[in-house]
């Protein structure tokens, strides 16, 4: 469909869009190695801000909290989301209510879910902390795990389940020895994706973590730092956060080729 003239125009558009998408992030990453640490002047390569960051107890604690929230919520969401995906696939025709229910956390504005959970926990007199953040994160993680596993189930050959049953395996054995191994890459990919999302999530954590400093997560820490002002340490933290998300995402992609929801 493209003659040479159009092709050149298309390449130009792509170039501009990709520059727009990547220049801001690249500038941050570059600045994290700037000795002066301020954006206006390059004063030489240095890792000293990395050193400063790793000596910062607040940030380390926030990172620890984030890992706990990410690991636990991703684990719970992976178990529930996988079961849900298999369940939906089996009862295909009755799935409409469920489908709406899983789709909802993806479209409800973050702030609405966040304040809804805050009110809910407060009225029930639940003490806020990392555990409430975890409960909240499972809600949207669940949706993503379910989507990834369902994508894999679309190409699942149900005749092997019948074969397994014919050979005398019980339902649980079939699930454990046949269905789960086939789905394993998608399940792990979904879990990693959930972990990435949870590590990066800010608004819901901000409202459900409560006021104590002990339950601050990394994005909450980043938000506080940004509001406080531009300091070189944020560049380093931003770089590490970007790197971390991308590595996890790449792993997830590798395990489950083309498994990103919507792709």
């Amino acid at each position: 469909m493209a003659d040479r003239h159009t092709l050149r125009l298309m390449l130009l558009i792509l170039g501009v869009v990709f520059a727009f998408l990547y220049i801001p992030i690249s500038v941050l990453v570059g600045l994290s190695f700037n000795a002066g640490g301020m954006p206006t002047a390059w004063t030489g390569f240095s890792l000293k801000w990395y050193g400063a960051l790793f000596a910062n107890k607040d940030i380390l604690r926030a990172a620890g909290n984030t890992l706990i929230v990410g690991l636990v919520s991703a684990f719970v969401a992976t178990v529930l989301g996988t079961l849900l995906a298999i369940g939906i696939e089996i009862r295909r025709r009755k799935g409409r209510v469920l489908e709406t229910l899983i789709f909802a956390p993806m479209v409800i504005p973050d702030i609405v879910l966040a304040i809804a959970l805050l009110s809910f926990f407060s009225l029930l007199d639940v003490r806020l902390g990392l555990h409430t953040v975890i409960m909240a994160h499972v809600v949207f993680n669940l949706a993503f795990v379910c989507a990834v596993v369902r994508a894999r189930l679309k190409s699942f050959d149900w005749s092997i389940v019948e074969a397994s049953a014919d050979l005398g395996a019980s339902t649980v054995t079939t699930l454990r020895r046949v269905v789960l191994p086939v789905l394993a890459p998608a399940i792990i990919a979904g879990g990693l994706l959930a972990f990435t999302l949870s590590v990066d999530e800010f608004i819901i954590a901000f409202f459900t973590a409560g006021a104590q400093r002990a339950s601050i997560t990394l994005p909450m820490q980043i938000y506080a730092m940004i509001r406080f002002g531009v300091t070189p340490e944020i560049n380093v933290l931003a770089t590490l956060v970007i790197g971390f998300s991308l590595v996890t995402l790449a792993l997830s992609q590798r395990l489950n080729r083309g498994g990103l929801p919507g792709q």
Partner: protein, 288 residues
């Protein structure tokens, strides 16, 4: 029998979503109709005051402002995102998956970090000012950070990958023979695009537009960071009602409006999509 087994599989997730999503959202719905307690908190007497207050000119103005900013961001993202998706679809097939992957990759990094990157670029001691100074045109630069434009820019930047993804789906499924047929019938490139390709692929862009609009209108982070608290959007207002003013009933009433806007837009879009696809099937049936 099989139904009962599958029920066991879906029940835990169903219970979790009910407890931590459905019930809290219904709670918000209910809170909007109660009075605010004298010392904050909730006084459980029914009132329509909160809902009425939403329509107070003071707040109505904030709604219009939010809708304006969200609409602007969604429109720009739709145009740029469509152009990018179109360009990706025009590239050789084997390169398309990689291009698409790299187009949505930034979306998977932290939202705050991506927003902060723009503070680094736009602030008075930032990179753009430094470059302008080096070029000797510093004086020509207006204030960039803490403006409405910065907020729109931040929203477009953060949500653009969404539109690219949404617009690429129909573009990649486009049958090249349709464009050929249009050309054989004497239509020029621009006419083919406007009369043939655009109508078929528009639902994808509409999906992207709606998503960006919905995500933008309730956003409070970008206005807080890139707008510098210069102006309020609904998200900031909801935030303030819950965390500063301690007026939960009014905050709930405001967020109900957000949900209403979201529901109306998504329903309209689903309806439009269905109509578009049945229309296409009907005309396809004539050929068959």
């Amino acid at each position: 029998m099989q139904d009962r087994k599958s029920l066991v599989l879906v029940a835990p997730a169903f219970a979790w979503l009910t407890a931590f999503m459905v019930v809290p959202c219904l709670l918000i719905l209910a809170l909007a109709f109660f009075r605010r307690g004298i010392y904050g908190g909730i006084d459980y007497t029914f009132t329509l005051e909160n809902v009425a207050m939403v329509f107070d000119p003071l707040y109505a103005r904030i709604f219009l402002k939010s809708a304006w900013i969200a609409g602007l961001a969604a429109s720009i993202a739709a145009v740029v995102g469509y152009a990018a998706a179109y360009a990706i679809a025009a590239m050789p097939r084997r390169h398309q998956p990689a291009l698409l992957f790299f187009a949505i990759l930034p979306f998977w990094s932290n939202y705050l970090v991506r927003t902060y990157a723009w503070i680094v670029l736009l602030n008075r001691e930032g990179l753009i000012v430094a470059i302008a100074r080096w070029l000797g045109v510093e004086g020509a630069l207006p204030q960039m950070l803490y403006t409405e434009g910065a907020v729109v820019l931040g929203l477009v930047y953060n949500y653009l990958p969404f539109v690219i993804l949404a617009a690429y789906a129909p573009l990649s499924r486009l049958n090249p023979e349709i464009a050929e047929a249009s050309r054989d019938l004497g239509a020029g490139g621009w006419t083919t695009f406007r009369r043939v390709i655009l109508p078929i692929t528009l639902p994808g862009v509409a999906t992207g537009f709606v998503f960006v609009f919905v995500l933008s209108i309730g956003n409070f982070v970008t206005p807080a960071l890139l707008g510098g608290g210069q102006f309020q959007m609904i998200g900031n207002l909801v935030y303030a009602q819950f965390l500063t003013a301690n007026d939960w009933p009014f905050g709930s009433a405001l967020s109900m409006v957000l949900i209403a806007v979201m529901l109306v837009l998504l329903t309209a879009q689903t309806y439009a999509n269905e109509r578009a696809s049945t229309g296409r099937q009907a005309s396809g049936g004539v050929d068959g």
